[in-house]
């Protein structure tokens, strides 16, 4: 039983490894805009690009959450720009 759990955990780690690495690289950047652009690239590569046969409801939900985070960051950026003007 324990082994099975470990194996499932291991599987989860393996599945998200690319994303974790991408996020680690991403946080090296300091500019909020650069951060958002990099997040958009991650969104495109790992979610938007998902094949329909693998685009299951749970992946769709993750895509929707990620998308609304990006929208929030975009709106925050616009608000900051307007404030500066």
């Amino acid at each position: 039983m324990k082994e099975q759990e470990n194996s499932e955990n291991q599987k989860n780690v393996t599945l998200s490894h690319d994303v974790v690495l991408a996020l680690e690289d991403l946080f090296q950047f300091s500019s909020p805009r650069q951060l958002r652009i990099s997040l958009m690239e991650i969104f495109f590569s790992h979610l938007c690009n998902t094949k329909l046969e693998e685009y299951k409801p749970e992946i769709k939900n993750i895509a929707a959450d990620f998308y609304f985070l990006l929208k929030f960051l975009e709106e925050a950026e616009m608000y900051e720009k307007e404030k500066d003007i």
Partner: protein, 137 residues
């Protein structure tokens, strides 16, 4: 998938325009692209495109909720253009959500056949583009 002469992407979100263009660019289906952040700007750019090319872009991806002129208003206006009836232009409406009481009657009224929900999925969008060109308008 057939090659499209030009795509017009209308969305007030820079991110959504970027995503749509990125999908199309990767699929290599369009020769050129025009972008606009609302219906008004899109109509202005369409007029310029018409003057230069004497035809309309074959594909239009238009967001529903936009400032100044929304997706419904834009679709109504483009269908009034003299070039529209003879054009092959396909319109896909993009939206994050629909209000069944307000939006559904307008979808019927404007005879909108193709709607995609955001966030876009590459294969979903490409399939819909393919389908729209296979169907008669």
């Amino acid at each position: 998938m057939r090659k499209i002469n030009c795509v017009l992407v209308i969305d007030d979100s820079e991110m959504d325009r970027w995503l749509a263009l990125k999908i199309l660019e990767q699929a290599d289906i369009n020769s050129s692209a025009i972008t606009a952040s609302n219906g008004q700007e899109a109509l202005k750019k369409l007029t310029e495109y018409l003057e230069e090319n004497n035809c309309l872009p074959e594909l239009i991806l238009v967001d529903l909720q936009m400032p100044l002129m929304n997706g419904f208003e834009f679709i109504k206006k483009i269908k009034m253009l003299s070039h529209y009836p003879e054009s092959k232009t396909q319109i896909i409406l993009l939206t994050a959500g629909l209000d069944s009481e307000i939006d559904l009657p307008k979808i019927e009224e404007n005879e909108i056949k193709h709607i995609l929900f955001k966030p876009l999925n590459k294969e979903e969008l490409l399939n819909m583009i393919d389908l729209s060109f296979k169907e008669k308008r």
